[in-house]
């Protein structure tokens, strides 16, 4: 029987993490994501599954706790919102450099600085282009519903371990705070230490006589060796581009124009598609589900079909750069966005399409 629940996005991902067999969660309160930690604490996951939940002294400590647990092959998650995610960047870079899996949720709010607690998508660059120091990529999932908040907890852990790479769920204050119907998957057992050691031979769980010691580090002082390490990382990102691109299309078959939007903005754009079509404008929507790897190929394909593309984002124009790179310059590509925590209305998006793409 289906288990349907009415939950906030932040609660759904917390519940899903427990059910996905998470071993630990470490976090620090910040609006609009504090419900993740609050929900986990109230659920007593140590009684349900043995999962460790701890309120850390800072986001810096929390991400390093993820590092420690991940290095022992555990499924570990942290969550925060924009200012806290900035603090985590050092640790995220270390996770990437040391090739450790870890799940990081950003329930984005407006910025820069302390900004506002309202939803935003202004952390797109930070999430998809690196964020911390060094050449690395996160695998970035962008949920656009409470259901996806739950589903991506499970998927995120799977991908993080598949590639030994940190995965970020780039959500926003709207998805985190809104309540929706969500179908919960059944409880998955946590792996035992024996299973972990068998599955992941690289873990630091104690050097047994049958193997050499395991070392988790991002320090490789020899430049030639460091370059080889970088090539290995780049190969991984290329594999992700080949195997993990996820997207969704709406009304694209006969589309003459295209919206590209992710997360909550994609939901608003679905309404904009309906409004525009009532006025006789044949517009479709492409929703990238993975922001890295970015669905460039499908955008390139649709660029041969449509006359223009509007990238709709709650920021000053970030994803539009990736859309332009995918399109390659043959058709008009522009950006429409609201900033500072303002959520765009469906009709203003249609107006922007008319002014910036159709009329322009």
């Amino acid at each position: 029987m289906k288990e349907l629940r009415l939950m906030k996005g932040n609660e759904a991902i917390a519940e899903a993490a427990i059910r996905a067999g998470a071993d630990a969660y470490f976090g620090y309160p910040i609006t609009p994501q504090s419900e993740v930690l609050e929900y986990l604490m109230s659920e007593k996951p140590h009684e349900r599954t043995g999962m460790v939940v701890l309120q850390a002294e800072s986001e810096i400590a929390a991400i390093n706790m993820v590092y420690g647990g991940a290095a022992a092959g555990r499924r570990v998650m942290t969550s925060s919102s924009s200012p806290g995610i900035s603090l985590k960047q050092e640790g995220i870079s270390y996770l990437a450099g040391s090739q450790l899996p870890g799940l990081i949720l950003n329930v984005t709010r407006g910025g820069p600085g302390l900004g506002t607690i309202q939803p935003s998508q202004a952390d797109y660059f930070q999430a998809t282009k690196g964020g911390g120091h060094g050449d690395y990529k996160l695998l970035v999932l962008a949920p656009s519903s409470v259901q996806e908040m739950a589903d991506f907890a499970k998927l995120g852990f799977e991908l993080a371990f598949k590639y030994r790479n940190p995965v970020m769920i780039l959500s926003d204050g709207m998805i985190g705070q809104m309540m929706e119907k969500v179908e919960m998957f059944p409880q998955q057992a946590r792996l035992t230490e024996e299973e972990i050691i068998k599955k992941y031979p690289w873990v630091t769980t104690g050097k047994t006589p049958d193997r050499e010691r395991n070392i988790i580090t991002s320090l490789i002082l020899d430049p030639a060796e460091q370059e080889r390490h970088n090539f290995r990382l780049q190969k991984k990102y290329k594999d992700m581009q080949e195997n993990e691109v996820r997207f969704e299309t709406f009304d694209c078959d006969d589309a003459e124009y295209l919206f590209v939007a992710f997360g909550s903005t994609a939901r608003i754009c679905q309404k904009s598609v309906q409004l525009a079509r009532k006025k006789g404008i044949k517009v479709g929507l492409l929703r990238p589900i993975t922001l890295f790897p970015f669905p460039s190929k499908i955008i390139e394909k649709l660029a041969h079909q449509v006359k223009g593309i509007l990238s709709v984002e709650m920021n000053a124009g970030q994803m539009v750069e990736d859309v332009r790179l995918a399109v390659g310059g043959d058709i008009k590509v522009d950006h429409f966005g609201r900033m500072g925590g303002i959520i765009p209305m469906p009709d203003e998006i249609v107006t922007a399409l008319k002014n910036k793409i159709i009329g322009g």
Binding site: D23, A24, F26, V52, L54, A56, E57, S58, I60, A61, A62, N64, M65, V66, Y67, G68, G69, A71, A72, R74, V76, E90, G91, Y94, S98, E193, T204, T205, G206, K207, T208, P209, R213, N214, I215, I216, T217, S218, L219
Partner: protein
């Protein structure tokens, strides 16, 4: 002649000391005379004697001992500068039966990692912190550390540490000892055989406490940095005894959860 004499001596029945197998055969990267090597050896010997190599995970810091995992023949993780106690927190909570330790310098533990140190101690995490206090930043070339003595010259306090301008040295070990989560806090040294013996006893006690889950144990080892101090190893040890020990007195600070009355 010399070779024959050596062969005569190198016999099993003459063996009085052997390097523990819990140290690798890699040549130490530390300056000759530096206390880091001795501290490594003592900790690894205790792990060997307790027979817990397969249950011990160490966290290396950023500092001269960043490559500790090259020398310690156990599973290890390398931490971002100052973050080792956060990493150890997660490890110990996820694997409470294992022996977990961090190995950190004074810059790592008492400057950039102060928050992680204090909060791990305050939560009473059940791991062990080895804190190598050499009063200077060794790795980056001898800059002022939070533990640099008043008046002490470093490359960033070239006229001596002016406490009016640069603040006083931080006695973080005494500070940590005040926290209810700290169960065993002691300050030792490793520059003489008797100090080595005392430190080794402290290391063993700290490791044994991990199984009773009573709180954190922190062992400060006041050590030399002859390169950073610009002294010969012998001068450095004398200078350490004459200047560091009066400011950082050796001995137990907190035992069995009780502050030691002086």
């Amino acid at each position: 002649m010399a070779e024959a004499f050596a062969n005569e001596l190198i016999k099993k029945e003459n063996l009085v000391y052997e390097k523990t197998k819990v140290l690798t055969d890699k040549t130490l990267s530390y300056c000759p005379g530096c206390g880091h090597g001795t501290a490594h050896r003592i900790i690894m010997e205790v792990i060997d004697e307790m027979g817990v190599q397969s249950e011990t995970i160490g966290i290396a810091p950023v500092g001269c001992s960043v490559l500790a995992y090259e020398f310690m023949n156990i599973d290890m993780q390398q931490a971002a500068h100052g973050r080792a106690p956060a990493i150890a927190t997660a490890l110990k909570r996820l694997m409470p039966k294992k022996y977990i330790f961090t190995y950190q310098g004074d810059g790592d533990l008492a400057a950039i990692g102060t928050a992680e140190t204090i909060h791990a101690c305050n939560r009473g995490e059940h791991f062990t912190i080895f804190f190598i206090n050499n009063g200077i930043y060794g790795m980056t070339g001898g800059q002022m550390a939070p533990t640099t003595l008043p008046g002490m010259r470093t490359s960033t306090s070239p006229y001596g540490r002016d406490v009016q301008m640069m603040g006083n040295p931080l006695k973080i070990t005494e500070l940590v000892a005040q926290l209810p989560g700290a169960y065993y806090v002691t300050r030792q040294a490793v520059h003489t055989p008797s100090n080595v013996r005392k430190t080794k006893r402290a290391v063993r006690k700290a490791f044994e406490l991990q199984q009773s889950a009573v709180g954190i144990s922190l062992i400060e080892i006041v050590s030399n940095c002859n390169s950073g101090w610009k002294m010969t190893p012998r001068q450095a040890n004398t200078w350490m005894e004459e200047n560091m020990f009066p400011f950082y007195p050796l001995g137990d600070i907190k035992v069995d959860g009780e502050l030691v009355k002086k």
